[in-house]
Symmetry: C2
C-alpha cells in the first residue's frame, strides 16, 4: 500500500479518538506532517503536560494541577450544594453557564451493566463519604438525561433518600437523549435555576 508505516500507524492512533473517522484522522496527521517543527513540538509538549501536570482533585475528582481543584479550594463556592456530574466536560459546561455557585462531584461515568460499569467503578462511595462527613444540604444530580444517566440518578437518589438532604435534578430544559456537553450555555443555566425535587 502507498501509505508508509509511520503514517498508517499515526492515522490508526488518531482514529481511536471518539468521533474521529479514518478520513478525519488522515487529515489531522497530514496537517501535523506539514506543520513547522516548532509548532509540532509545542503541540506534543502541550499534550505531554496534561498527562504530567494534571490529576484528579482528591475531593471532587475534577481535573487539577493541585491537591484540590480551584472550585473545591475556592472560598466563594458553597460546599453545602454538590452537583454530581458524569465527566469533567460537564463541569466545564455548567461552569460556563455561571449559574451554579456550589461544588461538584465527578462520577467518572454512569452505571452501565451492559458495558460492565457498576457502582464500584464510579465515585459513588466517595460521594457518600463526602455527604457523611460534611453538612451537605443539597445534591443536584446533573447526569445526562438518557437511560443510563436516569438509572444512575435513581441509584444515587435511593442511597441518599433517608438522609436530611434535598436531592434535585436539572430541569428538563435539556433535550432528552442529548449530550450535556453540547447544550448551549443559556439552556444549561436555565436548567440549573429550574432544577426540580426528585
Amino acid at each position: 500500500m502507498i501509505i508508509s508505516d509511520p503514517l498508517r500507524i499515526a492515522i490508526e492512533e488518531f482514529s481511536r479518538f471518539p468521533g474521529i473517522g479514518r478520513k478525519t484522522a488522515q487529515r489531522l496527521v497530514l496537517h501535523l506532517l506539514r506543520s513547522h517543527q516548532e509548532d509540532f513540538d509545542r503541540f506534543i509538549e502541550s499534550l505531554t503536560n496534561i498527562k504530567l501536570k494534571l490529576h484528579y482533585c482528591s475531593r471532587c475528582f475534577n481535573i487539577t494541577e493541585h491537591e484540590l481543584c480551584e472550585i473545591c479550594s475556592s472560598t466563594k463556592r458553597d460546599d453545602k450544594i454538590i452537583c454530581v456530574v458524569e465527566e469533567i466536560n460537564d463541569v466545564i459546561a455548567i461552569e460556563k453557564s455561571n449559574e451554579f455557585q456550589g461544588v461538584y462531584h465527578v462520577l467518572g461515568g454512569v452505571l452501565s451493566p451492559l458495558n460492565g460499569v457498576t457502582h464500584e467503578d464510579l465515585k459513588i462511595e466517595e460521594l457518600m463519604v463526602r455527604v457523611e462527613n460534611n453538612p451537605v444540604q443539597e445534591i443536584i444530580l446533573a447526569l445526562n438525561p438518557d437511560t443510563e444517566g436516569e438509572a444512575t440518578s435513581l441509584h444515587i437518589y435511593k442511597l441518599l433518600k433517608d438522609r436530611e438532604i434535598r436531592v434535585t435534578r436539572l430541569a428538563r430544559g435539556i433535550p432528552i437523549g442529548g449530550d450535556l456537553e453540547f447544550a448551549d450555555e443559556a439552556t444549561i443555566g436555565r436548567a440549573v435555576l429550574n432544577r426540580v425535587e426528585l
Copy 2:
C-alpha cells in the same frame, strides 16, 4: 476560569487543526487525559515518528521514509505519465481507486494570490525540470475543481503547451466545488479513466 492552564493550552493547540472546533478539541483532550499511560505514550510516539522518519520524496514530493517514495521507486509504475496533485491526501485518494499506474508530482498547494501563494511557493519549477530531463508523455492535472485549482491547472498548462506532451485533466465526474480527498473511490477511478485533453 475553571479550566486549568495545561488543559486550556492543549485544547487551544488541538483547535488549530483544520476542521476541529473548540468543543471537539476539548473532547479530544479529555479523551487523552482519561487514556491509559501506555496508550497515551503510543499515541505520542506515533506522532513523533511521522516527524522523525518521514520526509518528502526527492522526485515527486510525496511522503516517504526513503530517498524516493514507493511509487517513484517502483518498476511497475509508468514514469512517462505524471499526475500532478495538490497535496499528499490526493495521492492517497487516487491510489485507492487503483486506476492510475503512472507517477505523481505533489505541488504542495495551489496558486492563491490572496493568500500569497505564488509560482515559487509550489513545486512547479521542479515539475518543469522533471519534464525537461525525462521522456514524459502525459501530464494529468488532478487539482481540485475549484477556482484556485482551475487557475493553477491553466498556469501549468501554459508552461507545458509548447512541448510535445499530452496535458489532460480529470474528467468532471467530481462534483464542482468539492474536495478531491472526500470523493468516493469509484468516482475518482472513473474520473481518471475519462480524463480529457486540455
